[in-house]
């Protein structure tokens, strides 16, 4: 069995195969070919994928909550229509991902149960509150921007259904980032109060977004093995750097200041250097102590439980109709 102890020091390699099936699997990964649902795969590979894909799906679904809060308060009909379309997309993304995870033999109910019982995680970013309209801009621009950085390499992931879901998601995601940037642009070109609102949103969201890429490579528990399996293609730190390098000039264009006094272009590295990241805060929020963890989960559970009678009634109705149709045919 593979272990989780490998890290990214040096090129990731697969453990030697002990059975012919395992050798065939390793050869497929080495040749960069896709693994499909009914192909043999190591149990740990399956488990890693179920964990990652279901967490990803949960993040899409929980991610609808902070934005859904603002649909009724969007400042114009245009912004309202855009926000509704975005939230609807997130629901769709959750569906694509749950469906990809279901091909690995886990049921939708099992995954939802794990989320609702607090056993499964979702992206820690959604445990922060959305206090002003500018937060809708910051989320689209920064959170979705970071998500795209994370997700583009996943389009080449070794597991076919996950890779295909990610291709579809990435296609839709770029609208999300642009609409967020568009909100920030309007605010930063607006009144002094509007610009201050945009700056405040950037101040609150910047560090949580930088943390979204996960712990530094030297501390990342899952990265090494995931890289060997072709699930994770680019390391946390490399993706984070890429995001920062792309985002700093955009903030300058908006005339906003990134809340990091140590942020500085490093000509030698060809990258921006940043100040220290507060990993204690990251682990606190992941561990359930963020500002909104309890509220988000409670809202999700309530929505699921309040909808139970609809799901049951729809199923009962369909069964009755089916039975009637069969009787008529007989």
């Amino acid at each position: 069995m593979y272990t989780q102890a490998m890290d990214l020091a040096g090129a990731p390699t697969l453990a030697p195969a002990s059975t012919p099936e395992e050798a065939a699997f390793n050869a497929r990964i080495a040749a960069d070919r896709k693994v499909e649902p009914r192909d043999w795969m190591p149990e740990a590979y399956r488990k890693t994928l179920v964990r990652q894909i279901s967490q990803h799906a949960h993040s899409e679904v929980v991610g609808m909550l902070p934005e859904g809060n603002w649909i009724t308060r969007a400042p114009s009909l245009k912004r309202k229509a855009i926000l509704m379309a975005k939230v609807q997309d997130e629901g769709g993304h959750g569906l694509y991902l749950y469906a990809a995870a279901e091909t690995l033999g886990v049921s939708r109910d099992q995954m939802l149960e794990a989320l609702h019982a607090g056993r499964a995680k979702y992206s820690s970013i959604f445990n922060y509150p959305t206090l002003t309209w500018a937060d809708m801009g910051a989320i689209g621009w920064l959170v979705d921007g970071a998500a795209i950085m994370n997700q583009i390499p996943l389009c080449r992931c070794s597991y076919g259904p996950y890779a295909r879901a990610m291709i579809r998601i990435c296609k839709e995601e770029s609208f999300h980032q642009r609409q967020g940037f568009d909100i920030m642009l309007a605010l930063s070109r607006g009144t002094t109060a509007q610009k201050a609102m945009a700056q405040d949103a950037l101040n609150r969201w910047w560090w949580p977004v930088v943390q979204m890429f996960g712990p530094p490579d030297k501390d990342s528990v899952h990265s090494g093995q995931s890289a060997a399996w072709g699930i994770k293609r680019i390391s946390n730190d490399d993706l984070r750097q890429k995001f920062i390098d792309a985002t700093v000039p955009q903030a300058e264009l908006l005339g906003l200041t990134i809340p990091d006094p140590q942020l500085k272009w490093n000509a030698e590295r060809g990258h921006y250097d940043i100040g220290p990241i507060d990993w204690d805060e990251f682990w606190r929020v992941v561990g359930g102590e963020g500002p909104c963890n309890r509220e988000r989960l409670a809202t999700r559970v309530e929505a699921h439980e309040a909808g139970a009678w609809v799901r049951e009634a729809a199923l009962a109705h369909a069964r009755k109709q089916g039975a009637r149709a069969r009787k008529r045919a007989a």
């Binding site: 009914r38 192909d39 379309a85 609807q88 769709g92 839709e172 369909a318 109709q321």
Partner: protein, 95 residues
């Protein structure tokens, strides 16, 4: 125990260009009518298609991945089935 999870359906969409219906994903729905409605909401939000098929996932019979070699390898050495196998004299410009 009674199953409470809605049945799984596979969704196929045909784009405007008139190509074949293509598998785009799956979803849970109580019956075919609802599956079509949901497929419309999930898979055609950006004018991806003008026709939808839904099929109960359990109705699909798939080839066995373990039979891949005997199923598909025999085709690997039949290059004469492709037009590029045939060398045409230079004088024949298009064929």
């Amino acid at each position: 125990m009674e199953r409470k999870e809605w049945p799984l359906w596979e969704v196929f969409i045909r784009s405007k260009q008139g190509l074949d219906h293509r598998h785009v994903g799956s979803l849970h729905a109580v019956d075919a009518k609802q599956a079509v409605q949901m497929a419309r909401d999930v898979y055609t939000r950006r004018m991806e298609g003008v026709s939808i098929w839904v099929v109960p996932s359990e109705a699909i019979t798939a080839s066995d991945p373990d039979d891949k070699a005997e199923m598909f390898d025999p085709m690997a050495d039949k290059v004469y089935r492709h037009p590029t196998f045939y060398k045409l004299p230079k004088e024949v410009e298009h064929m």
